[in-house]
C-alpha cells in the first residue's frame, strides 16, 4: 500500500498537477477582473445597441461585428504585439498597462466578452414583452426606474443560460493569454512539456484543472438560474 502511494507520488502526473496548480491563481486573476468588467460593459453596450440614437447603435453594432468576426488570438496579438509597436503609445501612460502581458490579456478578454455578452443581452432586452414595459409606465416609472426594476432583471434572468455558456468560453479563452508569455496554467503546462517531453502527462494535469474550473462555473450559473427564476421552481 505504501509502495503504491509512493509510486503515485513519484508519477509525472502527480508532480505536474501541483506545478500546474500554481498557475491556477493567475488564471483566476484574469477571470476575476475581466468577467465582472465585461458583464457591466456588456449591459451598457446592449442598452446602447437597442437605443434609438443611430450613432450609438451603429457604432456598437460594427464593434460587435468586428470582434465576433475575428479570432480572439488576433485580438490578443494585436493588443500585445501590435499596440506595443506604435511609438506614441509606448510614450503615453497606456504603456504602463500594455507592457504587462497580464493587462494585455485582461484588456483583450474584456473586449472580446463585451461583444459576445452585448449581443446576448440585446436578445434578452428585445424579448421582453411590451405589456411589461407598459405596465411599468402606467405605474409612473421613470426611464431609470423602468430599466432597474423591469427591463434589466427580466432580460438578465432570461439569458442566464446563454450567458453561462459565454462564461465557460471565457474560462477556456484565458488559455490563449499564455501565448503572450503570461504564465497561467496552459503556459506552465507548456513549459513542463518542453522540459520533460511528456506531453500527455503535462496537459492532462492542466485539463483536469480546467474541467474543474468549468464545473464550478456551471454550478454557479445553475445556482443563479435557480435563485433568479423563482417562478420556475417546481416546489416553492
Amino acid at each position: 500500500m505504501i509502495e503504491f502511494l509512493n509510486s503515485i507520488q513519484n508519477s509525472l502526473i502527480y508532480k505536474n498537477f501541483f506545478l500546474v496548480l500554481s498557475g491556477l491563481d493567475n488564471t483566476i486573476l484574469l477571470l476575476l477582473i475581466s468577467l465582472p468588467l465585461g458583464f457591466v460593459l456588456a449591459l451598457l453596450f446592449a442598452l446602447g445597441r437597442v437605443s434609438k440614437i443611430t450613432l450609438f447603435s451603429r457604432t456598437i453594432a460594427s464593434y460587435i461585428f468586428v470582434i465576433r468576426g475575428t479570432p480572439l488570438l488576433v485580438q490578443i496579438y494585436l493588443i500585445y504585439f501590435g499596440l506595443g509597436s506604435v511609438k506614441f503609445i509606448r510614450e503615453s501612460f497606456l504603456w504602463y498597462a500594455l507592457k504587462e502581458p497580464f493587462w494585455c490579456g485582461v484588456i483583450a478578454l474584456t473586449i472580446n466578452t463585451v461583444a459576445y455578452g452585448a449581443e446576448i443581452f440585446r436578445g434578452g432586452i428585445q424579448s421582453i414583452e411590451k405589456s411589461q414595459v407598459e405596465s411599468g409606465l402606467s405605474l409612473g416609472f421613470g426611464k431609470f426606474l423602468l430599466l432597474r426594476k423591469i427591463i434589466l432583471p427580466i432580460a438578465i434572468r432570461k439569458v442566464l443560460p446563454s450567458y453561462g455558456n459565454e462564461l465557460i468560453l471565457m474560462v477556456k479563452a484565458t488559455s490563449l493569454v499564455s501565448l503572450t508569455t503570461y504564465m497561467e496554467m496552459t503556459g506552465i503546462a507548456r513549459k513542463i512539456m518542453a522540459k520533460t517531453f511528456a506531453p500527455v502527462e503535462a496537459f492532462i494535469a492542466a485539463g483536469i484543472l480546467y474541467l474543474f474550473l468549468n464545473f464550478l462555473m456551471v454550478q454557479f450559473v445553475k445556482y443563479l438560474e435557480w435563485k433568479y427564476n423563482p417562478h420556475l421552481r417546481l416546489n416553492n
Binding site: P71, G82, G84, V86, S175, T186, P199
Partner: protein, 235 residues
C-alpha cells in the same frame, strides 16, 4: 504606422504569401469541418442508440473536449499525436519513426473540437423530428438505410443548418490556434511577416481583415443555403 507597401504581391511585399495562407486557412477549416461532421454523426449515433457503454463514451468525449481549452487539445494532439500513431504502428509490426505532417495534425485537432459542437447541433435537430414520421416510414416497409437517407437526413439538414453555420464560424476562428503548430496559415503568416518587417500592427490588422472577410462571406453563403433548404417552410 500601417505600411501598405508591404502588402503588394511579388517579392517586394507579402500579398501572395497572405493569399496562400488564406487558402490554407480555408483548406484546414473545410477539411476539419468535414471530418468533424463525420465524427459528430458517429457521436450522435452513439448517444441515441440504447447502449449504455457507447452513450457513456460519447458523453465523456463531448464533456471533456468542451470543458478543456482548445489550445490544450491542440497541444495534446500536436505533441502527443505522433507517439500514439507510432505505438499503434508498433502493434502492426512497423517500428520506424513516423511523423505526421502539420496539415494532418491540424485537421485532426480542429475536427476533434468542432465535432463536439456539431454533435450537439445534430442531436438537437434529430430529436426535433417527430417520432411518427419514422414509424410511418417503417409502416411503409422502408428499411433502415432508406429511412436514414429519405426521411431523417433531409430534415436534419434543414433543422441543423443555422447551427452548423455557427459551428463553421467557430471552426474558422479556431484554425487561428493552429499557428502554434507551425502550419503556415493566416495567423502564422502574420507573425512571420511582422518578425521580418518589424511591423506587427500592419500584418496583424491584415490578418484581422482577412478573417473578417472569411467569416462574413461564409455567413452569407450559409444564409443562402438556409433559404434554399427551407423552401416551402417559410413562416
Amino acid at each position: 504606422m500601417f505600411k501598405f507597401d508591404k502588402l503588394v504581391f511579388g517579392d517586394a511585399g507579402w500579398g501572395d504569401e497572405f493569399l496562400i495562407a488564406t487558402l490554407m486557412t480555408l483548406l484546414v477549416s473545410i477539411l476539419s469541418m468535414g471530418l468533424g461532421l463525420f465524427l459528430a454523426i458517429i457521436t450522435v449515433w452513439a448517444k441515441i442508440i440504447q447502449n449504455r457503454i457507447t452513450r457513456f463514451i460519447a458523453n465523456f468525449y463531448t464533456t471533456v473536449i468542451r470543458g478543456v481549452p482548445e489550445l490544450l487539445v491542440i497541444y495534446l494532439i500536436f505533441f502527443g499525436g505522433n507517439a500514439v500513431v507510432m505505438s499503434v504502428a508498433k502493434v502492426f509490426g512497423y517500428n520506424k519513426y513516423i511523423e505526421l505532417n502539420a496539415l494532418t495534425i491540424a485537421t485532426i485537432a480542429i475536427a476533434v473540437i468542432s465535432a463536439t459542437y456539431s454533435s450537439e447541433v445534430l442531436r438537437a435537430s434529430y430529436l426535433a423530428i417527430p417520432k411518427g414520421q419514422i414509424e410511418a416510414a417503417r409502416a411503409l416497409g422502408m428499411n433502415k438505410f432508406s429511412i436514414f437517407f429519405k426521411v431523417i437526413s433531409p430534415q436534419v439538414i434543414r433543422h441543423a443548418l443555422p447551427g452548423i453555420g455557427n459551428v463553421w464560424q467557430i471552426t474558422l476562428k479556431d484554425t487561428s490556434l493552429i499557428s502554434v503548430t507551425g502550419l503556415v496559415e493566416i495567423m502564422r503568416q502574420s507573425r512571420i511577416s511582422s518578425n521580418v518587417e518589424h511591423s506587427p500592427l500592419t500584418f496583424l490588422i491584415t490578418a484581422a481583415i482577412l478573417y473578417l472577410c472569411l467569416t462574413t462571406i461564409s455567413g452569407r453563403v450559409f444564409k443562402t443555403l438556409e433559404v434554399n433548404y427551407s423552401k416551402g417552410f417559410s413562416t
